[in-house]
Every structure is written in structure tokens, then in C-alpha cells.
Amino acid sequence: MFEIVNKKELNPTVTMMDIKAPLVAKKAQAGQFIILRVDEDGERIPLTVAGYDRENGTVKIIFQIVGGTTERLNHKQQGDFIQDFVGPLGKETKVDGLKKVCIVGGGVGCAIALPVAQRLHELGCEVHSIIGFRSKDLLILEDEFKAASDKLTIMTDDGSYGEKGLVTEPLKQALENGEKYDEVITIGPLIMMKFVVATTKPFDQKTTVSMNPIMIDGTGMCGGCRLTVGGETKFACVDGPDFDGFLVDFDEAMARSVMYKDFERKEHEEACNLFKGVE
């Protein structure tokens, strides 16, 4: 059992937790993920490591409440325990030798992008961050990004904060103005990453994407997390989660990601009803 030592709501649909997991905290690196089960008979879900405190033995996770499992997780409070927490899994994001990077994050993906930005910033890399949200009330981690970036652009779909528009717009502008990055690193919804890649490709701007498909074990045992990358089958949990964006088959990944949509919708509704009953 793993204790929730801290819980904070970042916005109405995104929650942050620090989980006591000393073995994971000791090893975790930016870009890696963990798999958790909220309670006995729960589903196993992957969440990216959003930070770690090696001294106190805690790992930070940030999640969006999108389905039954995240709903159940969000219902746990500080001091409660979650059943299982295993990691760190996957490969860390490669940061060695990078001098200038553009981080493009969307929605809750920004939580995953932040530790990468922080790590790069620590290493003295020039970090330009472009983070996008649907609207102002969904904005998260603004201060943290500000601290980790040499340049920060905030976008909202409805223009309620920062600039109005999609994250690809300032990215395209920068590239058109002749900006050259060692790498663009993008983390967010599949559709956003697909368009980021479509934006960088004409400029032949190297782009790394962070994939987060459906997973079970996270150790290469089930193959459920497989993606087609450059025509080859890859397991995101062990070969990734980072891949060369130009090579990923996004349409396939998008189709696979909604494989259980009906089931998930039902689960989410059930979880909501369950908690309505309790409160």
C-alpha cells in the first residue's frame, strides 16, 4: 500500500498527488512513468512521473479525471492509501547535449512536460515553452513553467488567457522566423502531437513525442501498448515512451486509444454515481 502524502487540485479536472514510494522516488527520471492500481480489483493505469523527491521518498503524479479509475483516484484524500504503485518504467527522456529546445505541451500533458523542461533548464539548456489549454480555468503550472523556461508562450483555445489559438501557431511562427532547435519535445493529446509533427516536418525540425497508450503490465509482457514506429512494431512501455515524431503512425495510435471508449464511458458514469451516493 502506498500513502498519498499530499493532494492538490490544480484545476477542476486535474489533480496533483505526492505518493510515498521510496524505491520509485530513488530511481525516477523525467520522461518515465509509473503504473498504479487504486484499489483491489482496480484497473492498472500508467501515469507519467511529474516530479520526485528523493530525500522524502515521494513521487509526484498529475492526472486528469477522464474515466472511472481517475475518478476513484481523485476521490482518495491525503493520508489515504492506494493499492499498487510500480515503477519507474520506460526510458527517461534523452537530454544529454541539448542546447536549445522547444517544449510544446497541451492540457494535462504539460504536467508531464514540466519535469523535462526543468531538467533541461538545470542543465543550462535554453528552453522555449509553448503550453496550451482549452481555457483559463484549465491552466496549470504557469509559475513552474515560467521558472523553467527562457521564453514562455501560453495559448488558450478561447483566448481567455495568453494568446488565442493552438500551440502549433507560435511554433510555426518561430520556425518561419528561422528558429532552429536541437529538438522540439511535445507532450499532450495525440491529435495535438500529430499536428505539432505536421508543423515541424516541413522545416525538418527534429521532434520527439511522448506516447501514452493503453497499458497493463508496463514491462513488455502484454504488447497492448504497441505502436507502429517507422514501420516496425514497438512497445511504448519498454521502447518508449519517447519516439521520433516523424516515424510514429498517429492515426493507428489514435484508433487504438479509443478501443474501449464505450466501456470507459460506462465506468466513468458508474464511478460518478457511486460517489454521488456517498456524498
Partner: protein, 471 residues
């Protein structure tokens, strides 16, 4: 007087059409009377041919003699000298190609039902024995066991009995390896595995789930920082193979490991499980081993309308246990033999990109095969019959064409050598790897094999580790 009936006592089982809709155990086991009657078929041959067919050399005629006398606990004690998991092996061993294949009674009829008797004895023990398990006196030596499948559980148990301080590290949230995530409830009830794990805990073994060796902790850290003097690697062969044919990433294509893990470990067969799985419709399982049979029969129980086994050789070459094939046929699974998939077909609505059915499996194109010359292993090689392609309508495809050892531990452990198939290289008599103090056994060494071989390898390594640490 021996019982000279040419046939085994039949195994009491659930009716095929009933069991095809539930997950309860198919075979319900011999009664006391039937067990004694079956035991009486054993001629107690002096040269004991059956023992030569047993990978761990259980003293078969001896334990059967005890059954004849109604001394079931004594029979159990004889088996447990050579095997740690009789309740498991009695259910899942391929007896027809091991002990029973050598039985003299099999020359003019059916062999003695050795597997069924082993199961009876183990179940009897589990039900009736209530002697306390004594935690042995500690000898102060620490050993780590990686993986909680049959090899790891056996190695841990044997070492604990000798007084070692043993910790088992398991990547998943539940101990048992393939016995809990792969082999379904209807063939091996999970409470049997849970009992084995529980016995280990009573012996003082610590079981740490949720630890992936190579990620959470490395083998070198276990030895250099955490004070383990020896390590046993029983990490299995969990990496699924795919065929690399078009369409394998469509929605509705699973590896058998994923399909079975969702159903068994994550209990997707339970209506209130929070883990989804595709149910119903038409399902094809590609492959012919135990894994394929388990996946096919699980799909049926989850509510499939039609289940096919697609296998590229013929009935004779099917590597699955005979009993499982018979059960599968009785339950109505259709065998499409001498067929090989070439392509999985998906739905595509060009007018509506958002159509949820886009990318779902709708069928599979196969080609017919014929058997040609035997290969090095003597198995006749399947050859495609040109132009014989045809299509089956499907909703789900499950690939059960084999697994190989996971490279995770190898790639994070200095000095641990593997062969070209990814199996850890060991000295056969001891299980010693190329790294000092590190031993290995089971599927991690051999590639996908059997429970009994994994169990035997765990025993061998436990003895070698004891010798190594007693020096």
C-alpha cells in the same frame, strides 16, 4: 488384485455446454473410491518406466501404492520429496508425453491416470492436512528470488526450508507468474496458487510485489547494496511474439498474454471488473499450444459466438496438452488446421473519419498449407499452397504464436550472458549463470516450456545456492 480394466477411470467434469459458459474448473477431480480403483490399475513395475518419463523423477509407483492402501497423506509426502507443486502439476503437466507415455498399461489400453492421481493426492492433502508449518531456524543468509512463477516459488520454498532469509520480487501486483496471469481459472483455480504462496509466507519468505528488477532495483544493487548473497532469476518468458503481418495493430488484435492477463489477472470476466476486454462476436486464435487453447476457451466463456483455432500444421503436431484439445473440441471450438494467416482486415469508412468502427478487425485472410519434408527437429514443415487464400469474418484475433524471455534483466545486469534466443545461459546441473552468485531457471533460461521443468529448475538452483553459500 490389480484392476485390469483397459481404460482409465474417467475424470468427472462439468458438461461441455454448461462449462463453456462459466469459469469454474472443468475437471472436478476423482473421489476417494475412484482414486483407489485407478491406483489398482498400477502394476508396480520393478523397473518403473513411468519415473524415467517424469522430468523431476517423482517416485510414482511408490505414491500410487500408498493410494491403494488409502494412505493419502503418505502418498503426498512421497510426491513432495520431488515436487513442490503437485496440485498444480497434477492439473497442467502434459502427462501423455511424460510419465504416462511410458506406462506399461498404455501398450494395450490406456495408461494409469498418473496425473489424475497426483491431483487427487494433492487436493486431499490441501483439504485435510492441518499440521502446522514450522518456520525454520534462520541461518542468517539472504537470498533474492526474481519472479514468482513456478521456478521462483519452488526455489524460494526450498531455500526457506533450509533456513535462508528469502525475499521474492515480483513485477506484477500478484504473485504466481503464469499460474495467475496466464493459465485460466477453469483449468487451475487461483486459490490453489494462493495457497502455495501463503505456505511460503508461513515459512518466512517475504514477497515484494510491484518491484520490477532492472527498473525499480537492479541485480547489482540487490547484491552490492541490499546484502543479498545470491540471486535466483525466474523471470519467465513473457515477451509476446507477433507475426509481423499487415493489420496486427488493428483494434481487436491481442497477444494471448494481453487477452489472458485482462481476463485472469485483471478479472475482466467478472462483470464488475474495471478492466475492459472485447467480448462476443467471432474470434480466431492463431497458434496450437496450451496458450492458444486457453485463449480460445476463455474467449468462448466471455461470450463469443464462434471461436476458431487457426494452426499451420495438422492435429498431430498440435503442441497443446491432449486433454485441453479434447476439451476445446467438446466445447465447440472449431479447428482450422493447415491454415496460416497472411493479413488481418480492418474496417474503414472513407466517408466518415470519426466512425468508431474504423480500424476494427472485420476478418482475416489465410492461406492453406500442406506438410512437406521434416525439419531438423523431425517436424514436417508447413508449406503454403499457392492461390488457396480465403477470408474468415472476425471481430477479434488473438496471437498465441509464442513468447521469448524479456531482455529487461539482461540489459541491466553486468556480466549476465544470454543465448541468441534471449535465454539466460546456465550450467545445467546447478543453474549457475555467467555471473557469480546469480542463478537462473525456468522459462527465462529455456524459453517457453512447462511448469514442471520450471519447478525442477527452481529445485536444482536452490540446492546449488545452498552449496554455494555453505562454503
Amino acid at each position: 488384485m490389480p484392476n485390469m480394466s483397459p481404460n482409465k477411470n474417467p475424470m468427472p467434469s462439468q458438461e461441455p455446454l454448461v462449462r463453456a459458459k462459466n469459469f469454474f474448473e472443468v475437471a472436478t477431480g476423482y473421489s476417494k473410491e475412484t482414486a483407489i480403483d485407478e491406483a489398482l490399475r498400477c502394476l508396480n513395475c520393478k523397473n518403473m518406466p513411468c519415473v524415467s518419463g517424469c522430468p523431476v523423477k517423482i517416485h510414482i509407483p511408490e505414491f500410487i501404492a500408498k493410494i491403494k492402501e488409502g494412505e493419502f497423506e503418505e502418498a503426498y509426502q512421497i510426491i513432495s520429496k520431488s515436487s513442490s507443486l503437485p496440485a498444480v502439476c497434477g492439473r497442467v503437466c502434459p502427462q501423455e508425453s511424460q510419465c504416462e507415455s511410458k506406462c506399461v498399461r498404455g501398450i494395450k489400453g490406456e495408461p494409469v491416470g498418473i496425473g489424475r492421481l497426483e491431483r487427487f493426492v494433492a487436493d486431499w492433502h490441501n483439504e485435510h492436512y492441518n499440521g502446522e508449518i514450522q518456520k525454520p531456524q534462520s541461518n542468517g543468509h539472504k537470498v533474492a528470488v526474481i519472479g514468482s512463477g513456478p521456478s521462483g516459488l519452488t526455489c524460494a520454498g526450498d531455500l526457506a526450508k533450509k533456513g535462508y532469509d528469502v525475499t521474492v520480487f515480483e513485477a506484477l501486483h500478484l504473485a504466481g507468474g503464469v499460474l495467475v496471469y496466464g493459465i485460466p481459472e477453469f483449468r487451475l483455480p487461483k486459490k490453489i496458487v494462493a495457497k502455495e504462496v501463503d505456505t511460503l509466507k508461513q515459512l518466512g519468505v517475504k514477497v515484494e510485489t510491484n518491484v520490477v528488477i532492472g527498473k525499480t532495483i537492479t541485480v547489482d544493487e540487490l547484491m552490492n547494496e541490499m546484502g543479498f548473497e545470491a540471486v535466483f532469476i525466474g523471470s519467465g518468458a513473457g515477451l509476446p511474439r507477433f507475426m509481423n503481418i499487415p493489420g496486427e495493430s488493428l483494434k481487436g488484435v491481442y497477444s494471448a498474454n494481453e487477452f489472458l492477463t485482462r481476463s485472469n489477472l485483471m478479472k475482466a470476466y467478472n462483470d464488475d471488473s474495471h478492466t475492459p476486454i472485447m467480448k462476443g462476436g467471432k474470434v480466431a486464435v492463431v497458434g496450437g499450444g496450451n496458450v492458444a487453447m486457453d485463449a480460445a476457451r476463455t474467449a468462448l466463456r466471455l461470450g463469443a459466438d464462434k471461436v476458431y483455432i487457426v494452426y499451420r500444421r495438422s492435429m498431430e503436431e498440435l503442441p497443446a496438452r491432449k486433454e485441453e484439445v479434447e476439451h476445446a473440441i467438446e466445447e465447440g471450438i472449431e479447428f482450422k488446421l493447415l491454415n496460416n494467416p497472411v493479413k488481418i482486415l480492418g474496417y474503414n469508412n472513407p466517408d466518415d473519419k470519426r466512425d468508431m468502427k474504423n480500424g476494427c478487425v472485420i476478418g482475416m485472410e489465410c492461406v492453406q498449407m500442406e506438410l512437406g519434408e521434416p525439419d531438423e527437429k523431425g517436424r514436417r514443415r508447413p508449406i503454403e499452397i499457392e492461390g488457396s487464400n480465403f477470408t474468415i469474418d472476425l471481430d477479434t484475433v488473438i496471437m498465441a504464436i509464442g513468447t521469448s524471455p524479456n531482455p529487461l534483466i539482461k540489459s541491466t545486469t553486468e556480466g549476465l550472458d544470454v543465448n541468441n534466443r534471449g535465454g539466460i545461459i546456465v550450467e545445467e546441473a546447478t543453474g549457475a549463470t555467467t555471473k557469480q552468485g546469480v542463478y537462473a531457471g525456468g522459462d527465462a533460461v529455456t524459453g517457453a516450456a512447462t511448469v514442471i521443468l520450471a519447478m525442477g529448475a527452481g529445485k536444482t538452483a536452490a540446492e546449488a545456492i545452498d552449496e554455494y553459500l555453505s562454503k
